[in-house]
């Protein structure tokens, strides 16, 4: 075992890369849940985004186009969820599970023939001067555009939810859909938009996995990231800023366990690999003491006649 082979600077830099997929997915789900909808299909939307982004990036040679396709793929799948839960008033838990099962199958089907291919490299955006700073440079200023986009999205979601009228309406719909409906807000329409946004974010997160983090396509490559993103929303008590902290925590754990594996720690690889999931459970237990933060209408079906 050689712990000195772990470079803290590189560790922190890769922590930011590792946290970006779950950050994006969790941020999308946060908005969806704030609108009062529980979409358990994040894993399915992420993996669909992963293959859509990968396939389009490989075929066009442009990661940028790939990311756009991933967002569209995730949103398309989310639209199916929206039809089920908002128009045909299906149970949200069951619909979310259906979305994940369907997404896993769909992505495996679409991904035929993409195994073992290298995607076009996503250029890292070395910010002049800043990226040359010692220590801070590599950690903060030499990532690709998506990392900064994800960070900007955290700020944007926070701002929209807490400082704008649109955010107020969205939260009202999530807290009490009956009252929001009585005030004349279009509950269904707002929720569908939120669901589409959540799908697009999950798709981007998936594409970040397949195009930057891994970067290749393997079946089932999200391996629970979508579910961790769901847990992250609970961990964050439905607050945008805390999603970022949580994502860094989980990114840190997954990077650290990989580094420990590489350093040849005496703990077997399998036990290290299960650590992110075990820590997710631990965090859920700690956070479950406080349920008061959950949006009031979360998971409940809305129908104007009720």
């Amino acid at each position: 075992m050689d712990l000195s082979s772990i470079n803290p600077t590189l560790l922190l830099a890769s922590l930011i890369v590792a946290s970006t997929p779950i950050l994006l997915a969790a941020l999308g789900e946060l908005v969806v849940e704030r609108a009062g909808v529980l979409n358990l299909g994040v894993e399915g939307m992420m993996i669909t985004g992963a293959i859509c982004g990968f396939a389009i990036a490989v075929n066009t040679g442009s990661p940028f186009v790939g990311f756009i396709a991933a967002a569209m793929g995730g949103a398309t799948l989310a639209f199916l969820f929206a039809i089920l839960t908002q128009f045909t008033l299906a149970n949200q838990v069951a619909s979310g599970l259906a979305l994940t099962l369907f997404g896993l199958g769909l992505s495996a089907l679409l991904g035929q023939g993409y195994q073992g291919i290298k995607p076009p490299a996503t250029a890292s955006l070395d910010i002049p001067i800043l990226s040359d700073l010692p220590v801070l440079g590599p950690i903060l200023f030499s990532h690709d555009l998506m990392v900064y986009l994800a960070l900007a999205l955290v700020a944007a979601v926070w701002f929209v939810l807490n400082r704008t009228r649109a955010g107020l309406i969205l939260r009202a719909v999530g807290e009490n859909h009956g009252a929001a409906h009585a005030l004349g807000y279009k509950v269904i329409r707002i929720r569908i938009l939120a669901i589409l946004f959540g799908g697009a974010c999950a798709g981007l997160g998936g594409a970040y996995l397949s195009l930057v983090r891994v970067p290749q396509w393997t079946e089932g490559m999200t391996a629970g990231s979508g579910w961790i993103a769901l847990a992250l929303v609970v961990f964050a008590s439905w607050k945008a800023g805390r999603v970022l902290l949580g994502a860094w925590l989980f990114g840190g754990i997954s990077v650290l366990q990989l580094n420990l594996q590489a350093a040849g720690v005496a703990i077997p690889v399998e036990y290290l690999s299960m650590s992110p999931y075990l820590i997710t459970i631990l965090v859920l237990v700690i956070m479950s003491a406080d349920k008061s933060r959950a949006p009031g209408s979360l998971g409940r079906t809305f129908h104007a006649s009720d």
Partner: protein, 360 residues
């Protein structure tokens, strides 16, 4: 303009018709999908749904139907208990793995001793393994209110890692020249879950699945616990007033469904699969979720839905080898089935009304 009007009571007819409708729509859309993939849709559908039961080689596939359906039914019966009460155990895949590990572990511990008590002990160990794994989300939910959906699912990934560790470590076949995987239990008579009637596919797992169906049917129609489960699902507050203890119900449902999934894993590893290996689990735990819903969370429905999904698995394998249809297409097909079921189900609870646009 179509409007939905809530029915005073769920429609009985539609609750039976919805699964049938979902299957038909899935066949139509699935057929279209196969056409896009460049396969003859009629032939593909026939290969999947007709040939395994009525085709030339049906004598071979019919027993396979029971072999594949047994674990699905066993797991789905367990899931339906919780689903009815709004307790969402979706980590059956993990409980299935843990049951297999515990059951096989006990069997392998006795190797090469031959004795009649080994197999029953393995059954108990398998049920216990799944039960214990199901109790983790159960206790966490009952004690701390932790979300059982996320915890049970996280435990699937933990169980998968444990399975890999066991296949490469503790349970690895010492005579296996370093290859991963345990001894083959099919070659160890005392631990082998063999066919009870040769050539029928009926092994102890099939028997257990049928017992589970009857057990669940009696539970829901005759027993207080079944009533409490139904009541909790329909009106949690009323259930509380009626003296239902939600924590206790959570523990019972998650424990029972875990035990049944564990049994399924144990019967699978000692029978059709034969050994613990890294790729031992093939997603029965997740497919069983579809079976539970398609069967309307009703024991008899689950029996039929289990057979249908088993048919898609076998037919899918045939379509894969005969028509070159990708295996993933069947997985998607199954997901689609659940999709359409949930969509058609709107007609069970709501009535469609054609109305002209209202004047505001």
């Amino acid at each position: 303009m179509i409007r939905l009007e809530k029915r005073p009571q769920p429609s009985r007819i539609w609750s039976y018709l919805a699964p049938v409708g979902a299957v038909i729509i899935t066949m139509l859309v699935g057929g279209a999908l196969f056409a896009v993939l460049g396969k003859d849709p009629v032939e593909a559908i026939r290969t999947i749904f007709w040939d395994p039961v009525f085709g030339e080689f049906a004598f071979y596939y019919r027993p396979q139907l029971l072999v594949k359906a047994a674990p699905l039914i066993l797991i789905a019966i367990g899931l339906s208990l919780g689903f009815r009460a709004g307790i969402w155990n979706i980590g059956a895949e993990g409980q299935y793995i843990m049951g297999a590990l515990a059951g096989a572990g006990v069997g392998l511990a006795y190797y090469p001793l031959e004795a009649a008590y080994i197999f029953p002990l393995m059954v108990i160990a398998g049920a216990f393994g799944g039960w214990a794994w199901g109790m983790i989300p159960g206790i966490l939910k009952a004690r701390f209110g932790t979300n059982e959906i996320l915890v049970s699912l996280m435990l699937v990934y933990v169980a998968e890692q444990l399975l890999a560790k066991m296949a490469l470590g503790l349970l690895r076949n010492p005579d296996g020249r370093g290859f991963p995987g345990s001894r083959n239990l099919q070659q160890y008579p005392s631990a082998h879950n063999a066919e009870i009637f040769a050539g029928t596919g009926v092994h102890w797992g099939v028997v257990a699945a049928l017992i589970a169906v009857i057990f669940a049917y009696v539970l829901f129609t005759r027993h207080l616990l079944g009533f409490q489960i139904k009541l909790t699902g329909q009106a949690p507050k009323a259930a509380r007033f009626a003296g239902v203890n939600p924590a206790r119900l959570t523990l019972i449902c998650l424990g029972l469904s875990g035990a049944l999934a564990g049994l399924a894993g144990m019967f699978e590893v000692s029978g059709p699969a034969g050994q613990i290996n890294i790729d031992f689990n093939v997603g029965y735990g997740f497919t069983a979720i579809i079976v539970a819903f398609l069967g309307r969370l009703h024991p008899v429905g689950i029996l039929l839905a289990g057979l249908l999904l088993a048919l898609t698995i076998i037919g899918g394998e045939n379509a894969e080898s005969n028509l070159g249809l990708p295996a993933a297409a069947i997985q998607m097909f199954q997901g689609m089935l659940l999709f359409f079921l949930l969509a058609v189900d709107v007609l069970t609870n709501y009535r469609l009304r054609w109305k002209t646009a209202e004047v505001a």
